[in-house]
Symmetry: C2
Subunit: 348 residues, 2 copies
């Protein structure tokens, strides 16, 4: 089994640094060093908790997981990875669906407290909402998935861990890929409800457009999901957006979809309208759901390292439950472009 020495070697840091992190003396450590150590622990299967004082018997070996909707393939994949990571620590996952409703988020937190659950991972509408902040103040260890505090908030004011894909990089990667393949009239398609992670994707997209000297008409188009729980409807929304896209003159030759489900819906709608993909319009999604490799043509997409992220989230929750004084951290994971068949070959 891996020991602290192996972790230090793999992370390229001193044993003292690893020890500092494990013993809550990491306030002077850079976020990047901390992340390297955490990742080395994850990859080596090093579980410092096994050496910790036995868990308080009244504390439940349950981690709560709150997602917008488990039917959304991005979140069923997340739940799967979190369950795998939690099982390695003999924790179980208590599942909640919020449907992006505040009432459901509030009820979930109340239920976790009354269950004795003291650690939750949340893919929330907005982690800055009062009830999340209050819950953290009352001792709930919260890890926020894909939902950061805005830049400019002091480290001391951060009361939850935040684990995200670098969404700015994701939007930029998708857009740069289209530009490098020769697309020049590029749009970004999204659902209208703007979470911080969605804003970041758009920000990355716009930065790539500016940097690539892409003139107008690049633009962001958006559609409104029918119900509050927009995620399960992404496919349908993608199909519905197609008429808007085809009404743009001159017609776009590249689209970044805010998620793969929306992208696959657009693909179905574009094909029904007789538009060739990638011949006439190239398409890139974000999320890399398993379905995307099976779409026709297979959808090029930007992939978050979900298993690594899940492992870190579970470790953060468990470590902070054992050491409540541990300051929360912010962790950004670099995304990767998975190139498939939905983007034209440059020069064709």
């Amino acid at each position: 089994m891996a020991n602290i020495r192996d972790v230090a070697r793999k992370a390229g840091v001193s044993i003292t640094s690893v020890s500092n992190l494990l013993n809550n003396r990491s306030h002077q450590m850079s976020g990047e060093t901390r992340l390297r150590i955490e990742q080395a622990m994850g990859e080596l299967g090093y579980h410092p908790l096994r050496n910790m004082p036995a868990q308080d018997k009244t504390q439940s070996p349950i981690i709560g997981l709150l997602v917008p909707s488990i039917v959304n393939p991005s979140f069923s994949a997340l739940a799967h990875e979190i369950d795998l990571a939690a099982r390695a620590y003999r924790y179980r996952v208590l599942l909640g669906n919020s449907y992006r409703q505040e009432d459901e988020e509030r009820a979930f937190i109340d239920d976790m407290f009354s269950q004795g659950v003291r650690g939750i991972i949340v893919a929330a509408s907005d982690i800055r909402k009062t009830y999340f902040v209050r819950a953290a103040e009352r001792g709930m260890m919260i890890v926020s998935y894909d939902n950061r505090f805005p830049d400019g908030i002091a480290a001391e004011a951060r009361i939850v861990d935040s684990v995200s894909m670098d969404n700015i990089a994701a939007g930029r990667l998708a857009a740069e890929h289209l530009i490098s393949r020769g697309c020049r009239r590029i749009i970004f398609a999204t659902e209208a409800t703007l979470t911080l992670s969605r804003s970041h994707k758009i920000e990355g997209f716009l930065a790539a457009m500016r940097h690539g000297n892409i003139a107008l008409p690049y633009r962001v188009i958006e559609g409104q999901a029918n119900r509050e729980c927009g995620d399960a409807e992404m496919f349908e929304l993608g199909q519905a957006l197609v008429s808007q896209i085809l009404a743009i003159d001159p017609r776009p030759d590249g689209i970044v979809a805010i998620n793969d489900a929306l992208g696959i819906g657009m693909m179905v709608g574009l094909r029904a309208a007789g538009v060739a993909i990638p011949g006439e319009i190239s398409l890139v999604g974000i999320d890399n759901i398993s379905l995307s490799g099976l779409a026709s043509p297979a959808l090029t997409s930007v992939m978050p390292p979900l298993a690594q992220m899940a492992r870190l989230m579970v470790e953060r929750v468990i470590r902070r439950m054992a050491q409540p004084g541990l300051p929360p951290g912010e962790y950004l994971f670099a995304p990767q472009l998975i190139s498939r068949q939905s983007v034209r070959i440059a020069g064709h």
Copy 2:
């Protein structure tokens, strides 16, 4: 709000019958009557538990849910419907993935006992396994999803509730649809691991073949998933089966896939091999996952009434936790064929 009178009227039974069921005097009631009453309660939103003595405070308001893998879209849809039904009773769902491994099933049961959870819904590899039987004997209220006790077991020996789609009817419906559209060389494609529900689907398929006087070569082909947790691999397996299918001489003109994921995988593989669907081969799936309507061509499929089934499962677990003496029941739900574009039009 609906009362006991409304339930009796809707179910077409006497108020006494409803009262007998609610008060554990249903031993002489036919399964069919019981089912009618339960369904009427579900449809009317009648919750007899509200009139019951308050729940034991030491009992956890948690229901366990054990599925093979939450990444399989059939089971993420199930988890979603069960969560919705459980929330109506203010219960939460504790999720387990078994990956069809006995160790994981056993660990799940142990954890539920130590959590104080006394009711679980399980989509198990085989509900007759000793650890499920022992758990039921120790007071765990178990509802088995899509996994019946074999016919011929006496009612008294049934110790878990069983809620299933009528899988024999499902296999038959799929096959009859192909026959009615003129297919004559029909095969049934499945993963090799035979659960009871899979055997039933094949049984229904074969019955339809005999009844339709379809001569050989109807046959069952099967592929073996690489890992034990076959469900997440169904797509890939479907693609892999295509070479077997195309090697059959004369070539089949109709395929029933044991589930939609396998069917969509076959569709991708057949298309890659230049086979027209439904022009040359018609295809019917079973499960009706949300993706099937978006495949190209959209996949015809046999649909279980999942929301109704989830509601009944949650109600059975909660009612039996409140009244442990209540005998378990067996509930079969009729499936429905959803006709889309993957089956040829008769006469063409």
